[in-house]
Symmetry: C2
Amino acid sequence: MFPESINNLIAEFEKLPGIGHKTAVRLAFHILESNDTVAKQFATALIDAKSKIKFCEKCYNLSENNVCNICSNSKRDTSVICVVENVKDVVAMEKTHEFKGIYHVLHGNISPMNNISADDIKIKELIKRLADESVKEVIIATNPTIEGETTAMYIARLIKTIPEIKVTRIAHGIPVGGDLEYTDEITLIKAMENRRDM
Amino acid sequence: MFPESINNLIAEFEKLPGIGHKTAVRLAFHILESNDTVAKQFATALIDAKSKIKFCEKCYNLSENNVCNICSNSKRDTSVICVVENVKDVVAMEKTHEFKGIYHVLHGNISPMNNISADDIKIKELIKRLADESVKEVIIATNPTIEGETTAMYIARLIKTIPEIKVTRIAHGIPVGGDLEYTDEITLIKAMENRRDM
């Protein structure tokens, strides 16, 4: 119905997750109705992000340099490594401004259902870091899902064979501001199990 | 929090209408996680659409050529012109596969509230076409909004001064499958006014 180059642009928008045909048409027309620099800046940003971004050699976080900003920051405590599933988890953790250690990004979880084994995610790389760097504690912060727990247990077992490295798991329980009444059973069980003296 | 080139890409996505920060982050990561061709194709489509698309010299529809596919189609009846507000209305009308005439896209409505006068939209161009081409009927299909009605009346008054050109307005009434109970008053009034013998 539209000229070919508009159809192409609509098709590209439609490839994005959660963008249906109508939204894609609306976005394409937004580009057409904006001035030339909008399309050019957008195109440049796409190419740039894809070409400049690589994985940090140490922690596999996204980075424009060989070593990411966090690993190369001399103020961070390199003796504590927080293990997370993906890059967005690093961002979530950094937003708290509380954690002063460094990270290790697994880029996934062990998931036999999806044919993802321990070798497909960055576990070997973590074990190698523990041998090379002087690490005191590994905090496993994978998500409290079946796959996340499996991965956490697998890594914990590997690390326990290395003397003098403590391995911990972030706590699961009722979220702050949450309500017992609306908390699911598994979370409640976790919250009871992990109760503390007060 | 992210490297600069990712922040740039997120910012570009955020500029799109209806895309908030969280969606922008999700879309940017989709691009980063896809292979290189995805970003390249997307960038090319953006630049292409913007550089290739121009307005049809005759009807001001979007086109890759000087004259659009509809105006240059010899099977179309050039004696009937349907006047619409914008390019998307052409597409909506074409989807019916019923209208065999040609179009004229106004690119807006007369709207004193938004400082848009008759000179800001393609009305002069329409009147010029009526002088140059042999047109028998002009169907005004602007939307049934205050601005659309104002524009329709303005154009109708201009055309009525030209002899031998009929000017009509598309019908407004209860949509097919609609329900009297849920139809707004203005539509009901229009539907009653436009009642037909049967």
